[in-house]
């Protein structure tokens, strides 16, 4: 699919806010009003039960979102296992899994090679412990490269904010440094692991030999499809039988 320059892209805008009473240093430092939009659609359009009004932004800490993006970086880039849209899949692909006590939009990322499909869904009801529900829904394909640029820019900005306010030693900062120091060979492995539904730093190393051996055995034109389809425990069996 050709993505033109005018194709829609995720737009993330935020404005730092005071965070009186927020206990955690990293959550307080990154407290902000956040607006997400894709083209003309506002993903963060919400109905507020308290004020009985709607608005286009939410007031949240950006730290959990940035951390979730970085920890799931490879899944957002390459983890598209068809038929695996279960709860585990949601934890890696739905922005709602950012957690830390904030209600995030149900925006899902489905990487499909050069494009990434973004699907956002409205909340039919208010969540039990929230006075908020998201109103917008839609689906669009965006350039994967452009999306990575937007997400990386967002993460960098959050880390800059932490640095400016003297918040150090967070999991986000450590993970981002680790992610940026990955070389070309490790990138290939991380993408392969993500295709298999494995976290490259937690689960992937258990299957290192099998993943690499499959890459040496199989033609490159079917390798991505192979990783997308095979169960990690069966890599060796199926790659050897071909």
């Amino acid at each position: 699919m050709i993505v033109s320059q005018e194709a829609p892209m995720l737009n993330m805008e935020w404005e730092w806010m005071p965070a009186e009473g927020v206990r955690s240093a990293e959550l307080a430092a990154t407290f902000a009003r956040l607006q997400l939009a894709i083209g003309d659609d506002c993903v963060t359009l919400v109905e507020d039960q308290q004020t009985r009004s709607s608005r286009r932004s939410v007031t949240v800490s950006l730290y959990p979102l940035a951390e979730w993006l970085v920890f799931n970086w490879w899944f957002l880039r390459a983890g598209a296992r068809a038929g695996h849209a279960n709860h585990s899949y949601d934890s890696r692909h739905s922005l709602r899994a950012s957690g830390d006590g904030f209600l995030w939009p149900n925006l899902k990322f489905f990487p499909e090679g050069t494009v990434t499909r973004l699907i956002w869904q409205r909340d039919k009801l208010f969540a039990p412990h929230s006075t908020l529900r998201y109103l917008a829904q839609g689906e669009v394909r965006v350039s994967s490269t452009g999306l990575q640029f937007v997400l990386a820019n967002f993460v960098s900005s959050v880390i800059e904010r932490l640095d400016e306010l003297g918040v150090e030693g967070t999991a986000l900062q450590a993970e981002w440094i680790g992610l940026r120091s990955i070389d070309e060979e490790e990138t290939e492995f991380c993408i392969a692991a993500a295709r298999l539904g494995l976290d490259p730093f937690a689960d992937g190393p258990k299957f290192e030999a099998e993943i690499i051996e499959a890459a040496t055995r199989l033609p490159s034109d079917i390798l991505a499809t192979f990783y997308d389809a095979v169960s990690p425990g069966n890599i060796e069996t199926y790659s050897a039988s071909r």
């Binding site: 206990r23 934890s91 006590g101 904030f102 969540a127 412990h129 070309e184 937690a202 055995r217 490159s220």
Partner: protein, 222 residues
């Protein structure tokens, strides 16, 4: 042609065949071992060694004299990979870390009883809609709201301690404390989140069933 001598590989025999055909490599990539895809050094190659019987049956002269890797693969696909297979590098990162928000086994050297004795719930104003032990509410925060009937922080501290003692904790640790702990009270799931890694202070908030379900390994609830 002696490939191993040409490449400088000094590792095991299965890893000593380098890919001489530069057309198969991406621009700028260094020579790599066909077998394990590593550059030059092969001490840590985790691949299975080629079985001795098959290695003996393979004619090294025949394959080594082949002019291209594609021919070598036809002659000895078990050593060089199938024809058309990718040949540039792939390597697992050395850095390991746990999943971010997953229930996990308790580390062997951790005494949960001791950890539980040191934690306390302090709350946080973004989850409050009323003045409380956590201070004035933060009305603008779009966060999960606590039940107003919870007015005693010591009760919540007991929930937190029980959750940690029973191992309902996340795999991410900050200082001496787990970042997350989970408890189910009165049919409601609560998540405790570390807010001070020195003091072991936590905030807590209710989470929905759907949020609970997307926590990896949550089904192994104890």
């Amino acid at each position: 042609m002696d490939v191993s001598a040409e490449s400088g590989c000094r590792g095991r025999s299965a890893c000593s065949k380098f890919l001489p055909d530069s057309r198969r490599r991406p621009p700028g990539a260094a020579r790599r071992c066909v077998r394990c895809s590593r550059k030059r050094s092969h001490e840590t190659c985790g691949l299975r060694p080629v079985p001795a019987r098959r290695a003996a049956a393979w004619s090294p002269l025949l394959a080594a004299s082949a002019s291209s890797v594609q021919q070598r693969r036809v002659l000895a696909p078990w050593a060089y990979g199938r024809p058309g297979a990718r040949t540039w590098g792939m390597r697992a990162p050395k850095r390991h870390r746990p999943l971010r928000r997953a229930r996990a086994a308790v580390p062997a050297d951790v005494d949960l009883e001791a950890v539980a004795a040191r934690v306390r719930y302090v709350g946080s104003s973004e989850h409050k809609t009323y003045p409380s032990f956590a201070g004035s509410p933060h009305p603008r925060a779009d966060a999960s709201k606590c039940d107003p009937s919870i007015t005693d922080s010591s009760v919540v501290t007991l929930w937190l301690q029980d959750a940690i003692r029973s191992g309902n904790i996340g795999s991410l640790w900050e200082g001496d404390f787990p970042r997350y702990a989970w408890a189910a009270v009165g049919g409601v799931y609560y998540e405790g989140r570390l807010v001070n890694r020195v003091q072991g202070a936590y905030k807590g908030y209710p989470i929905t069933d759907n949020e609970w379900k997307i926590i990896p390994q949550a089904e192994e609830w104890r």
